[in-house]
Amino acid sequence: PLTPMTPMTPVTPASESSGIVPQLQNIVSTVNLACKLDLKNIALHARNAEYNPKRFAAVIMRIREPRTTALIFSSGKMVCTGAKSEEQSRLAARKYARVVQKLGFPAKFLDFKIQNMVGSCDVRFPIRLEGYEPELFPGLIYRMVKPRIVLLIFVSGKVVLTGAKERSEIYEAFENIYPILKGFKKAS
């Protein structure tokens, strides 16, 4: 008996892989340290911390490795930005939590969640953009429905993808847009 090998997903000739992988540039994550914090105390004792209560109600702390910035609120909640991977974001958040712990607060590490991921890549050909307003923004803002990702597409061929909660969404969005972009390659 013949068992034909049918592929799980239909392979159409147009959807050959682009061979380009978007690079992650920024990850934004949040975590709950689960204890009330005295921000003035933290700002005074921690290195690389700034706190202007009149301007913003959180301590802004930075660490060099991984190079990230954290916003620490008196409620005990924290936002960690600037990491280039999910693991780095988690590691950085843990480091901040340890700093806070060392200052005497009973910090925990609850509900760590990645809120946003930003990736970028280059399709290596110029793109013919239509319906963009050069006076307002030099690129096209494309809101993809599935996955729900916003892509910023520029004439140079560089593409920025944002709004993802998972790495796979960035990759999927780029694979979706690549064939469309090829159709709009600028004729030189």
């Binding site: 110029p126 239509e130 307003e133 050069p134 006076e135 030099p138 520029f154 004439v155 140079s156």
Partner: protein, 275 residues
């Protein structure tokens, strides 16, 4: 023959004595396209002694608001006319703006936004549709609304009315910028040619057409007897002089190919400033 009712304002009688007031018996011009009829009336200021009460105040001082449902719209039309006046826009653009505003207003999809912002955005769209676009910065100059808000309303209105507008080109602004700078027709035509060629040869990908136009004007003026500085051009076009420099650097290498064939050089191409 057919008798058509003239809905314009009443013809004035030009009598010798200008002292007499000109009583209009039929009210203001009807604006049926816009204010939904406008058949309401107001109580006018009294003239005789009987119209003043004991303190000297006039009785019936309340001029009832006319057509209150469209009061906001009438106000917006006034503001639109004011804005258009400041930059000397012709009546056809103002009419188009009013029409756009009415459509947006009736649709109510942008109801939350400031009317002035919507009016400014309508003005911007009308200029575009009439083929004489004004930059956002030029509209900003006559409106109290920020460029960001006008831009937001602009996108929302295009969506609400399901219209689109043509992309702006460098040529759209040439005649206005050049005449503001006092440049002769030859220079203007040269600048137009330079900008068009620069875009055709794709020397300036990703640059705003305004910046490219400004750089082209700079190149053309520097090659002619009527030289203008980057700062002067930047002031008129609303672009920073560094921006002009950036675009100029991109077109400078191909300068000889960009000038029109019949251009009379006051300063030859190889003596053009190199920034």
């Amino acid at each position: 023959g057919d008798r058509v009712i003239d809905v314009g304002s009443e013809w004035r009688t030009f009598s010798n004595d200008k002292a007499t007031k000109d009583p209009s018996r039929v009210g203001d011009t009807q604006n049926p396209l816009l204010s939904d009829g406008d058949l309401s009336t107001m109580i006018g200021k009294g003239t005789g002694a009987a119209s003043f009460d004991e303190f000297g105040n006039s009785k019936y001082q309340n001029r009832r608001t006319m057509s209150s449902s469209d009061r906001a719209m009438v106000n917006a039309f006034k503001e639109i006319t004011n804005m258009a006046d400041r930059i000397n826009l012709p009546r056809n653009i103002v009419d188009r703006t009013n029409n756009l505003f009415k459509q947006v207003y009736e649709q109510k999809s942008l109801k939350g936004r400031s009317n002035d912002a919507i009016a400014s955005a309508c003005l911007y769209i009308a200029c575009r549709q009439e083929g004489v676009p004004r930059t956002f910065k030029e509209i900003c100059a006559v409106s109290r609304i920020s460029k960001k808000e006008i831009g937001r309303c602009f996108k929302l209105i295009l969506k609400a009315l399901e219209t689109s507008v043509d992309l702006i080109t460098t040529g759209d602004f040439m005649s206005r910028f050049c005449s503001n700078l006092g440049l002769p027709k030859q220079v203007q035509m040269a600048a137009t040619h330079i900008a068009r060629k620069a875009v055709e040869l794709d020397l300036v990908p990703g640059r705003s057409p305004i910046s490219v136009a400004a750089a082209a004007i700079y190149m053309a003026s520097q090659a002619s007897a009527e030289k203008r500085t980057q700062k002067e051009i930047g002031d008129i076009a609303g672009v920073a002089d560094v921006t002009i420099r950036q675009s100029y650097r991109l077109i400078y290498p191909r300068a000889p190919d960009l000038f029109p064939a019949d251009f009379k050089f006051d300063t030859p191409v190889d003596k053009l400033p190199q920034l």
